[in-house]
Amino acid sequence: MSATTAETQLLEINLGPQHPSTHGVFRMIATLDGETIVKLKPVMGYLHRNHEQIGEGITYVASFPFTDRLDYFNAMSNNFGLALAIEKLGGIQASERGEYVRVIMAELTRLVNHVAVTGFLLNDMGAFGTPLLYAFRERERILDLFEAASGSRMMCNYVRPGGVREDVPVQWLERAREIVNNFPIFLDEFETLLTENEIIQQRAKHVGVLPKTLAVNASITGPMARASGVNYDIRKVDGYSIYPKFAFKVPLGSVGDVYDRYYVRILEMRESVKILQQALKDIPGGPAISPKGQAISKAPRTFKPPKGEAYGRVESPKGELGFYLVSDGSSQPYRYHIRAPSFINLTVLEDMCLGQKVADAIIILGSIDIVLGEVDR
């Protein structure tokens, strides 16, 4: 009997831009050989509004509400990044209490982001709803804190050069302490549900492996780089703001697969809780914003930094969030550029997906943790 060979052909399919697994309006053009991905091209820009051009047409401080809409899960971190770049450019000192409040907000944001991304990742793996709702229940408690301090759950517009817009309300620190101290209980519960769960073990281990050298070479940052074993956390290497005062560790993965990216985020939340407990214990009194910061926040047109440039960066929950500002001596930035971590982390999407199945591509994308507001800017 003669063997017959089956004729196969490559199939090109579109994932997105309107698809729940793409976390927004993002499109992947995948070429498949059977179920296996042989080529994958990301297509983005559906949410592009030329944020940088808008930023060059308004004053420095007026950009703060726009930065909320970059990575709309982490408004506080985005504000913080821009504030640091402006402080660097204009030589502004922040008040001590202001620094503490900003760090508390940035770390709370990290908790919010990491619980949400873990919930969504599980959704992508087919564990519909349950882990996500556990995550969102906890996220909502922290968003209540944000609302009490800034007036808005998500579009906080709270951090300013020199400190924060307004001091936190009375009793806020007590509420924050209670939520932070209860957070590890939730994490234990969450981990009991997830870490050794069969779905995660089967779906996430050895899927979408990103080698360490490629991660460095492709400018990957944040939990994604650390899951691949790159020891790079801007809070440690730059020691910006008051981070050097706190004792915390930088969790690293070893394999660089989806599972490591999940688990590094869980460990990072535990470290964030440690930072928060220290900050909430040590927070001093005094003004929440320095006099110079107050002056430029109240009258943005009077702020004219000297000619020059500054690159300010923070460890946002997604990676290195950088703001590159060029001043020509006027009240508006001559150049306002954002180095968005979600955008650059997508560089290796194809490398991680090659040879994997379509269903794996969905969770690989979920494990990168992108927000399209920041990718497209």
């Binding site: 983005m44 820009g45 592009h48 030329n50 940088e52 051009q53 490629l214 460095v216 070479n217 492709a218 400018s219 990957i220 790159v230 020891n231 790079y232 290497v237 020059g308 440039e309 690159y311 960066r313 290195e320 950088g322 590159y324 060029v326 001559y334 150049r335 550029h337 180095r339 955008f343 650059i344 997508l346 560089t347 290796v348 497209d376 800017r377």
Partner: protein
Amino acid sequence: MWASLDELKSVLEQQLPGVTVTVEGAVLYVEPKNLVSVCRYLKDSERFRLDYLANLTAVDYPPERIEVVYHVYSMDKKHGPLPLKVRLPRAEPKVASVTPIWRGAEFQEREAYDLYGVIFEGHPDLRRILLWDGFQGHPMRKDYVVEDQNVLEGGPA
């Protein structure tokens, strides 16, 4: 690590014959034709090991030039970021791509091409990334005229 940019300049000019770099403030200016050799040296040399491209973007200075800015950092030695710049003629901004050296430049160069019209020679896939194919012009250039927001776009003529 380098003690000062002047020291870095002398090391570069010593190690790479024929290359001249200039220091202006905290920035190192490289001639476009030498960009690749300087970047490769900074990345591979035992002393600097600038293995991570943190940021790449362009700045428009009409009427004569566009500058491309690179912020490079060393993951290995934890120093930087070092700002590197090249000056390009605005009428024909062309420079060699650094994507073969740092993969991280791939999307950032596409973005600079899209918004500023800088041509990165040797880029594996230089297409628009944020705007759609067929878009006219480069909107981050200072002389770009924003269309009238009050006029509805017409359909096909």
